[in-house]
Symmetry: C2
Subunit: 340 residues, 2 copies
């Protein structure tokens, strides 16, 4: 009998947050595809920060992952056996079958991968959810105008690197926050950011304030936490904050004690007439055509670059996933589950 190798959620995270012992590698029997179904072999698995919230019990914008089931996630897969019209063995599709090597799927859950001339992994990164989130979130909620200052956190990541480059293409002054010198150099030397700031720098707050001397017009926030708090006094009147992620904060952990900054933020919203908008990728799907057209053109012309951090082997997914939260990954995090 055929099996699928799964990385399952074995236990929910404890007070320290997600750890290797929360995951289990299991080989699970897989039924044959029925009428109208296809058998998929996973080639690539996307690792994304949103998966952390799914590991916990309780409400989020999506259901939490079940114990003893594979972790959720987007994949690029190859069709093996096909009992479905329009799908032939060897076809490449995007599926959302999570951290596993094989899957039996109904075609309505699959997106055929178009031929863009770019590596298929881009469909999980710069041309996938991450790129779409950065492109759409910046343009729709950041509303950057030529000459404005755009700040983006987690700027060398899959979302942030798109945000900063699109802002540059739109004529903005772009400031990126990343962790470590290597990523900062990448932002300025390869992606054309005007300023890159290392969040680990002991003088980070002072350097951020100096870089934003004329104020921030758009803050694309991937991280929340202390960096979000540090931007508030630097925002210009009428600034837009696109709230995309909270990678720096595990919101299932207890809140900090000290000064309650809720009123500080509320006052800033009023006094500076700020706009804050939380959003998900799913609210940007109407922009798909413009997104793919602009991005493929910018990549082809060399105006927009991307970087992927590909790890080999499904068994290494948990470790690669945990690196998202320490800033050790560098570029869009992808697991190569099988060779194409």
């Amino acid at each position: 009998m055929k099996t699928t190798l799964q990385v399952q959620l074995a236990a929910r995270p404890g007070p320290e947050g997600p750890a290797l012992q929360n995951f289990a590698l299991c080989d699970v029997p897989l039924r044959a595809p029925g009428a109208g179904e296809v058998l998929l072999e996973t080639l690539y698995l996307s690792l994304d920060p949103y998966m952390r919230a799914r590991m916990y019990e309780g409400a989020n914008y999506a259901a939490s992952a079940a114990l003893g089931a594979p972790m959720p996630g987007a994949t690029i897969a190859r069709v093996g056996t096909s009992n479905a019209d329009g799908f032939a063995p060897g076809d490449l599709v995007e599926s959302a079958h999570g951290w596993q090597s094989h899957h039996v799927a109904s075609p309505d859950t699959l997106r055929p991968i178009p031929d863009t001339g770019l590596p298929v992994t881009t469909e999980l990164g710069v041309l996938g959810m991450a790129g779409h989130t950065g492109y759409g979130g910046l343009l729709r909620y950041g509303r950057p105008q030529k000459g404005e200052t755009v700040l983006v956190s987690a700027a060398s990541g899959a979302v942030g690197s798109v945000v900063g480059q699109v802002a540059r293409i739109k004529g903005c002054r772009v400031i990126g926050i990343a962790s470590g010198e290597q990523k900062c150099r990448y932002l300025t030397d390869e992606l054309g950011f005007d300023v890159a700031l290392d969040r680990r720098d002991p003088w980070f707050d002072a350097k951020l304030a100096a870089a934003c001397e004329t104020g921030i017009d758009v803050y694309f926030d991937n991280v929340g936490g202390e960096i979000f708090a540090a931007t508030i006094p630097l925002l210009n009147t009428g600034a837009r904050i696109a709230v995309c992620g909270t990678i720096s904060v595990d919101r299932n952990q207890p809140p900090a004690q000290g000064t309650d900054r809720l009123t500080m933020l509320h006052s800033a919203i009023l006094v500076k007439q700020l706009s804050l908008q939380g959003f998900l990728y799913t609210g940007l799907l109407d922009m798909t055509e413009a997104f793919r057209r602009d991005m493929t053109a910018w990549i082809a012309s060399g105006e927009l670059r991307y970087r992927e951090d590909i790890v080999d082997g499904l068994e290494n997914a948990p470790e690669a996933f945990l690196r998202l939260f320490t800033g050790e990954n560098f570029g869009k995090s992808i697991v190569r589950v099988a060779h194409a």
Copy 2:
């Protein structure tokens, strides 16, 4: 020589916030109007919560009031001597010359008062800045849809009463928060709110949660502070928060200590895809025509009501002003400086 009676800012507020001893009543010499100028006699002075922030030194969206100068504020005035084309003695105008009985003005700072058939005081309240703020802020930033739940704080006030009634007219379920039973009865019995909640009720939090059982779609926030915090868990996905005021919080006083709720709010913004927009009246001026047309029609048809809290005598302005922050005023707060 002619004089003008002024209520001046005599001292900036101390740690307890604004108090009577911060004000002084002074009779000040007034020059005669020059070429192209008019002499104004103040009939009515508008008292508004924003004036508190002006009493402090330091940045806000507007300059702080100067010591030894009259407190700022909008007035309805009658033209006395006129050396300006288009202005005749007896004409009524809106001016922004603050807490004083007379003023020499240039015509470009004046708005002639149109004849609406309503008392002239409405030009400072339901047809003035307060009404415009409520109408425009709700429609532009709250974006209420028929059948949605709209919550408004300081709901019996000049802004809040307009917000709630416009939301009702737009087909929403309307919940208002006010202080005291009398104001709550006014909301349900006279203004047609679905639910009114007394913020002084010891069971306020539980009653708010019960009233918002199906969640809040729009929160029009006039107060900030603990009521703002209490709404966050009750907001629906996609909810809009129009941030209009912080009357419950004197932002020049030190922040509270305890749990830092900044991250709680940030997470809610992301997870529920919230929209928060701070705004000022000045950003809504393009809606003036629709505002005046709709409001005068609704008032004429009896669909929308208003209430004014008129105090006699400029010397009583400080006391009336302080009542804004204790919830003792009931309706739009106006000082009658001279009889029309």
